[in-house]
């Protein structure tokens, strides 16, 4: 699935990185805590989150994630946007809730990138 398809399926708006929409997304990871992003995501993942501070871009860049999709219509501030442009990490925003966003993408065949953890051990 490409980022463009993610955009269309979720009726998402592209905040930045319009020229990178042909990027292939192999898997996705959803989290509200950057701790989880740093500990559990895998390289190349699409990050689905409601967290909009610039630190989300730093974390995505440190973990080599390919793009960030904000849920619940969340929109990052200028500092986050500028950092994302600098790091070449596309940002998108959808009005769907986290659960729906993940469910829809899963239905379309996008798989998880998260490392497995033991029950209750996250």
């Amino acid at each position: 699935m490409t980022l463009k398809e993610v955009k269309e399926i979720l009726n998402a708006e592209v905040i930045s990185g319009n020229h990178d929409l042909e990027k292939e997304i192999k898997c996705a990871f959803a989290a509200e805590l950057l701790s989880d992003v740093l500990a559990l995501s895998q390289e190349g993942a699409l990050l689905i989150t409601g967290f909009t501070h610039p630190q989300v871009v730093y974390a995505a860049d440190a973990a080599n994630l390919c793009a960030v999709l904000f849920v619940r219509g969340r929109w990052p501030n200028e500092a986050t946007q500028q950092l994302a442009i600098q790091k070449k990490i596309p940002l998108l925003s959808t009005s769907y809730m986290m659960f729906e966003t993940c469910g829809i993408l899963y239905e379309y065949g996008l798989k998880t990138c998260a490392l497995t953890v033991e029950n209750g051990q996250d």
Binding site: L34, S35, A39, V56, Y58, D61, A62, N64
Partner: protein, 155 residues
């Protein structure tokens, strides 16, 4: 830095201000840039960036200030962090996944899941952590450029 001193190709120290959440990620970002420019393998950069980000957050969350030093040698990267602050009363407990003493403010900034130290251990090849409660914490970790079991910098 013991017997490896003469092999240091690069060294830089960064100051980290405790409680300054708005600049969180800046130091690990600078470290990542340096490693990229030095031509370090991509996989090593990812591990180092993640471990450095976690270490940087620990200083911001739990210390008044700290210094993070990056050393590049032909065989490994080494990062040393010394801070002044809370310290860790029980290192064994702090190393267990999910254990956290984070407050609301730390969680607001997306951290404090109790994954930081275990995640540093997971992304590094050698890790040493010592702390004096109410004084500060010393953390150092090593990532080999290519896994070399025979080269142990802490021996």
């Amino acid at each position: 830095m013991d017997k490896t001193d003469h092999n240091i190709l690069f060294h830089k120290m960064f100051h980290i201000e405790g409680g300054n959440f708005t600049s969180a990620g800046l130091i690990s970002d600078q470290v990542k840039k340096i490693l990229k420019e030095a031509g370090i393998p991509k996989k090593v950069i990812r591990r180092a960036s993640i471990a450095t980000f976690e270490a940087e957050m620990n200083v911001i969350c739990y210390a008044t200030q700290g210094d993070l030093s990056l050393f590049i040698t032909p065989l490994f990267l080494k990062i040393v962090v010394d801070d002044e602050g809370h310290g860790i009363p029980d290192i064994h407990l702090a190393m267990s996944e999910g254990y956290s003493t984070a407050d609301e403010k730390i969680r607001e900034w997306g951290f404090g899941a109790g994954m930081g130290l275990p995640n540093i251990r997971r992304n590094t090849d050698e890790m040493v952590l010592t702390s004096t409660f109410r004084q500060g914490t010393h953390l150092e970790f090593v990532i080999y450029l290519e896994r070399q079991e025979t080269q142990l910098p802490f021996e």
